[in-house]
Symmetry: C2
Subunit: 95 residues, 2 copies
């Protein structure tokens, strides 16, 4: 992964979708060629919402460069519990 | 999209993840070369869970052929309401 990709990453949480849309658009308006939208677990569907809103409503010239999925292992909060797995997604948009 | 892809599709709903994992594995054991995992809205994160469990636990030789995202427009249930958009994902696994 290039340095540019890593530095323009938006991690999706529980805030309104438009907050993340605005964060991505700000990166692009600042001259970024690529922006990565990252999410884990239940936030994954929101990551796709963000990518779709950007593509269809704000930046029609933005394209999906790549979509990758993976698994993160979460260590247990209390000792004795086993680690749990959580799915991840990384959507890279480019202009 | 090829005919084979369309005929081996698993649509993710609200059942336990292992139900969908089993459905995909059954397709592969029946000779399918490709299986598509499709989901909309909040079920999207579960679609990725299904793909990850298949790849890491049951079929280590299964690979992700493609991941695509999109938007479906849902017509309103009552007249006068505007249509709403829902994000979609399509993960195609291949062996």
């Amino acid at each position: 992964m290039t340095e540019a990709t890593e530095s323009n990453a938006v991690l999706i949480g529980k805030k309104p979708i438009m907050n993340y849309v605005l964060a991505c658009i700000t990166f692009f308006h600042g001259g970024a060629k690529e922006v990565s939208i990252k999410a884990r677990g239940r936030a994954i569907s929101r990551a796709i919402d963000v990518a779709e809103v950007i593509r269809h409503r704000f930046l029609p010239d933005a394209k999906i460069k790549s979509i990758s999925i993976g698994t993160d292992q979460l260590l247990p909060q209390e000792e004795g519990n086993s680690p749990t797995n959580v799915s991840t997604i990384n959507i890279t948009l480019t202009r």
